[in-house]
């Protein structure tokens, strides 16, 4: 499938083959006559668009309709397996890759250590070689690859796919990640930060019936992804959801790496908890050490995680007043150790926010675990090639 490089703005009110595909994305098979009736388009227009979508592998014949007599008419349906996408979730020291179909079903996956600090050349080279192998493991060829979705552990300008002053991966600043990967793989590449793709993954997998969701990742750092009216909201520069540098109401004036004081991340992140436990004489260097201490039953560590939850809760109470979500999903390594973190968060949010906003509010732990990122990257990549404008351009 010849797809446009980069992103395309949807042409207003295009009613070409792309719109016909949107109609079929619900998976229900339909006959040519049904599509003529639904769209008001002429029989010849529908026939030609069906032919082109079928040739592109985006829809496929789906058996025959029942008929009252004569030869039963053929039906057509969305064909999610016609193409695959490569979904990539890069952490500071770890990479997770998956090849999925266009509906997010995982066909092959791989996990491995990979230090993002080694720089874009080595890391993206690894992504390309392992990605292509993984496509083969899924029994497909590079020709079947429709797009790539990739999450990075730092701020990304979504419109260009370039990291912007990413603290833990300075060599990536302003690097044209989509350009580099598109040159090697020949397909559109979508890049976003790791928390946004995690929010997308949780939303599509576990909460697709909910319109307003906030995903909060509590790990070495703290960040959030905002789903509002059913879609990820990235803000003007793609910097939305930067929870870690909001000042904690009533919090200590702890200095933060950003140059300010009293930021949530400086007080309640996995790193901040580790630092405070170490100051109390415990063996804790990283957020993983904190998790290990809590798992071992250490009460001081459990209390510190709960107190961090309270600080996160006092910032989240403001987010609840501002955004009125119906679900807050807490993910990241610190959410994986029992109820300590959630208990602290719930305590403050329910005390601090107004009844109208909390009456129907649920605060829950993430359910997709380590897979949320790749599932979100897959959804982002598939959405980009299935949009009406992308399909119209690809088939034009």
């Amino acid at each position: 499938m010849a797809l446009p490089e980069g992103m395309v703005q949807a042409a207003p009110h295009s009613t070409g083959a792309g719109d016909l595909l949107q109609l079929l994305r619900d998976g229900r098979p339909r006959t040519r006559s049904e599509l003529v009736a639904i769209t008001g388009q002429s029989r010849s227009t529908i026939a030609s668009r069906i032919d082109r979508l079928t040739a592109a592998g985006l829809i496929a014949p789906a058996g025959e309709s029942s008929s009252t007599g004569g030869r039963p008419p053929a039906t057509f349906a969305f064909n999610p397996g016609g193409h695959v996408v490569l979904a990539v979730d890069l952490g500071a020291t770890h990479a997770s890759l998956a090849v999925t179909d266009l509906a997010g079903t995982i066909l092959a996956q791989e996990e491995g250590p990979l230090a993002v600090a080694e720089g874009p050349e080595r890391v993206l080279g690894w992504v390309v070689s392992h990605g292509l192998s993984l496509v083969q493991s899924a029994g497909r060829g590079a020709i079947d690859l429709a797009s790539v979705g990739i999450g990075l552990p730092g701020p990304v300008e979504y419109s260009s796919g370039r990291p912007i002053n990413p603290p833990i991966m300075p060599a990536w600043n302003d690097v044209d990640v989509p350009g580099i990967l598109t040159r090697s793989l020949g397909v559109p590449v979508l890049v976003d930060n790791d928390v946004n793709i995690m929010a997308l993954g949780e939303h599509r997998t576990a909460w697709s019936h909910v319109s307003d969701l906030l995903l909060v990742k509590v790990a070495t750092g703290i960040g959030a992804g905002i789903i509002s009216d059913g879609a990820l909201r990235r803000g003007a520069q793609g910097a939305a959801g930067d929870l870690g540098h909001i000042a904690v109401p009533g919090g200590a004036e702890t200095p933060c790496t950003c140059g300010n004081v009293g930021c949530l991340e400086a007080i309640a992140s996995g790193q901040a908890i580790a630092d405070s436990l170490r100051a109390q004489g415990l063996q804790a260097r990283t957020s993983s050490d904190v998790v290990a201490l809590v798992r071992s039953g250490n009460i001081v560590a459990s209390q510190a995680v709960r107190e961090a939850g309270r600080h996160i809760g006092s910032v989240l109470a403001g987010c609840v007043s501002l955004l009125n979500p119906s679900v807050i999903v807490i993910g990241g390594i610190l959410a994986d150790v029992g109820e300590h973190l959630l208990a602290g968060i719930r305590e403050v949010v329910y005390r601090r926010s107004l009844p109208l906003a909390t009456e129907h509010l649920r605060i829950v732990a993430a359910t997709t675990g380590a897979m949320a990122g790749v599932l979100g990257a897959s959804a982002m990549a598939a959405d980009a090639v299935l949009s009406p404008a992308a399909v119209d351009l690809a088939l034009s």
Copy 2:
């Protein structure tokens, strides 16, 4: 025009007359042949939809196209003046009404004292009688009225149009405002809180090229309206933008009417400033008194407004991190008195937020002044009747 009562969910991928109208809403006249070419629909389908949209007054013949020979073909364009909407902005003690066309052009307007605390029966009765007179003043009849948009000074559940525990209008709690007005006026009624319609009005009038905008109203109380990816975001229960009850980082533990302490509204609203000035021996009972003192050159009052701006700024810094808007518009009576409030807000937001989020951020005073509310109510009302689903239903 027979329009459905209440709101209708857009049917996915409807491609009826409603979609044809969306295409024409840009105002550009098009021939039947051009519409056939753009949509891929058959000539007979286009002809029938043009006929129905014309009969409904939603489009109109717009002269003849230039032609290379023979009789030049007729063109058709959106007809914003075919119907009118009634736009209503209710404050605590004041009502603002306007009759506009479907493009928001004001045809007639009226302002008057009206105490919302008198209850829904009297207030909505006033709206109906004055609204119908105003339609006549605009030279139109009740038959031309397509819809009503109304803003109320309290929380509203947008999906039902019912006020939810509104502090300054307790008699309105859970009242079916759309039901009451629809029974009298026979058209769809959309209800939202006053800050949301103000955000919509400012966005459509002054910032339609901007996708991410936060409008903050600073008056007796404090609230916000959020435009994200070009549309108003109301949250799960319509309670989004409730800035007034976010805890101020580093703020005093001042008790708030909501039962919590340290809320922004308890520290920095017009009422809070008036209270603190009165405690210092000044004549200040209301936010209007604060404005009068500042206008008279009182330095203590000016300093108090600037300090309130700093507290608002420290909450807005968190909003900037969370939402990454490109514009913050400050409206309300306290924004009308020079640069004191904005100076305080800017001082803290630019110090406190991260560079990626503030680099392109503008913080400005509202430009539409007292008209923002009715202009937003007009846009909300017109959008509701011009949506594809509403048009398809009305013409079916």
